[in-house]
Symmetry: C2
Subunit: 350 residues, 2 copies
């Protein structure tokens, strides 16, 4: 049993709403004592945090699918931690849990917070901490429900062609591998030869287009690798790539709008897809996904994905950076495309 | 029995692919003799033609849902005519038919052409010629299947809010009235007070926003008239109006992409919806419709719509211009918003 009074909680809080890329001076670094949980509550020591493109959106003011992080609040982040104090019969000291820990070393939840935040125990025999933040976590769930529920592989025919951008990223690697398992032809789009090679050679995608190779590489690559057109496009990036894919979609195609990382740090207006009338011509659909809508089915999806991991049908790759203090710079790796695999911030060792 | 050899067929052909608005010098005016139909064929005298925004798209080169009209070909147009000669047992001289007559005084179909073009008899007791080109014709079918199949009124709750642009146009008037019949709150968007008044007072829409009234009238009007947000947006116009509606949509909203008349005569790139990430935030869907996909269900929809006409639950308004020669200028009424109701070109009296 940890003596909480000896602990200091280092936290990173949102100090100002960023314009463009969030810089270090937009964060504040605070310390707080760690206190005993009230009845029904728990205290969790943060082990690893999930760094995701969606975090950039949470920093903006305005209506979204989730309220923005308030100025002065600890930055929102999902993560994995160990229960170090419990006044809740459902959690024992030593349990490993996942939940909205925030960018801090210790997270305290009262009974309401446990429920609202979906804090739940995880089994490290099913997957590693990193995998629980990746394939078995929010990115994996996003890929799973985005592909299966919105994309509906097989809607028009067996062996549909699926294209996924951000193919080496957290969501992309799940989407592509799952689409292969479901019998689709899968073409990734990623930045750089190393990522493309990994996606094809390790994950088994049919092809991967390096969007950085040349200004016309996406256009040329789609023509070459999707000779029968695109039935499902899982979009994590927006911008020019979305527009180019729109020129290659098939009748009744589905475009899953999961994110638009190319647009998140714009200081001007978002670039709208000027080829959106391809939706009309092709009676196609563009639809948004927010993973939280599927919370009541996470356990089913996790069981399925854990099976694929166990059988070696699905692999995962994480890019682990270490140290809470590195958070401001580590987050930026997502936006310059530096991360290779799901970006994880390791805050403490197990 | 008409002596065909005494007749001359005046035709309007596409002479050049237009840049921007199609001008008179982009058409050629030709004459041909009318000849007896071969076995299985018919000759139809054009009474009235449907002038539609989609015609502009058919004049462009490139892949679309239908091949472009070739240079030198008679301009494609749907219409109503009278059979004046028949070598087909299914059609008698005097029958009124609908089909792809083209912009010409007489249309000849062989047996294959009758089938391919969907030439079929219509009953003028069910609706007038103008109504057969409007509520009971392609625009009505587009509105019906776009709203019912893609829009799915009632998907999230009873009494959903439906917004339709081009509200006084052919498709818009059907969509709005049908949505009212199906129990929705209906807000139109149209250009000018006269159209807005008609839509509210005659068609029974709950409100209509005059987009010409001020630069902020659509934004302000949606706020005022859609206090509970927008569940279905039936888009006939694209551009700024689409972008503004995107800021007001509800969770699980459906946006039906039927057309983008504001963009058809652009000489620069189409304006993409810069607010498309609202689809993500709201888990909403943007989907295109092409009416031809529903051909096997036209008869069901026509029967339903004819019932509403008979019961006075649905009204229709047509803007009739007279004379084949006026075609080049009459078509432009669609693009400057001059037409009030479904635009019909009357070529000959009954």
């Amino acid at each position: 049993m940890t003596n909480l009074s000896t602990l200091t909680n280092h936290q990173i809080r949102l100090a100002a709403r960023p314009m463009g890329l969030p810089k270090r001076d937009g964060w504040s670094f605070t310390e707080e004592p760690v206190t005993e949980p009230a009845a029904g509550g728990i205290v969790v020591k943060t082990l690893s945090l999930s760094l995701d493109p969606a975090m950039r959106g949470w920093m903006n003011e305005g209506k979204s699918y989730i309220p923005p992080v308030g100025i002065g609040e600890v930055m929102r982040a999902g993560g994995i931690g160990k229960v170090i104090a419990s006044a809740n019969p459902k959690f024992a000291v030593g349990d490993t849990v996942t939940g909205p820990l925030g960018v801090q070393e210790y997270a305290s939840f009262d009974e309401v917070g446990i429920k609202r935040g979906g804090v739940s125990k995880i089994d490290l025999h099913v997957g590693s901490i990193n995998q629980w933040l990746n394939v078995l976590g929010m990115p994996g769930m996003t890929g799973y429900f985005g592909l299966m529920d919105v994309g509906q592989p097989g809607l028009t025919k067996a062996g549909e062609t699926v294209v996924v951008s951000g193919a080496a990223g957290a969501v992309g690697q799940t989407v592509g591998q799952l689409a292969k398992i479901k019998g689709c032809r899968v073409v990734g789009i990623a930045g750089g030869k190393a990522k493309c090679d990994w996606v094809v050679n390790e994950l088994g995608f049919d092809a991967c287009i390096d969007y950085k190779a040349s200004p016309s590489s996406v256009k040329d690559g789609l023509k070459e690798h999707c000779p029968n057109g695109v039935d499902i496009y899982f979009d994590n990036v927006g911008g020019e790539i979305l527009d180019t894919v729109l020129t290659r979609i098939n009748k009744k195609a589905r475009i899953i709008i999961c994110g638009a990382i190319s647009q998140y740090n714009n200081t001007t207006a978002v670039q709208g897809p000027k080829n959106y009338l391809s939706l009309l011509v092709n009676r196609a659909r563009m639809e948004g996904i927010v993973v939280f809508d599927y919370a009541d089915r996470y356990s089913i999806a996790i069981a399925e994905m854990a099976g694929y991991l166990r059988e070696g049908k699905m692999k995962s790759k994480e890019d682990v950076v270490v140290g809470l203090d590195t958070f401001p710079e580590s987050l930026l790796k997502l936006f310059n495309g530096e991360n290779f695999g799901k970006l994880v911030l390791q805050v403490a060792g197990v």
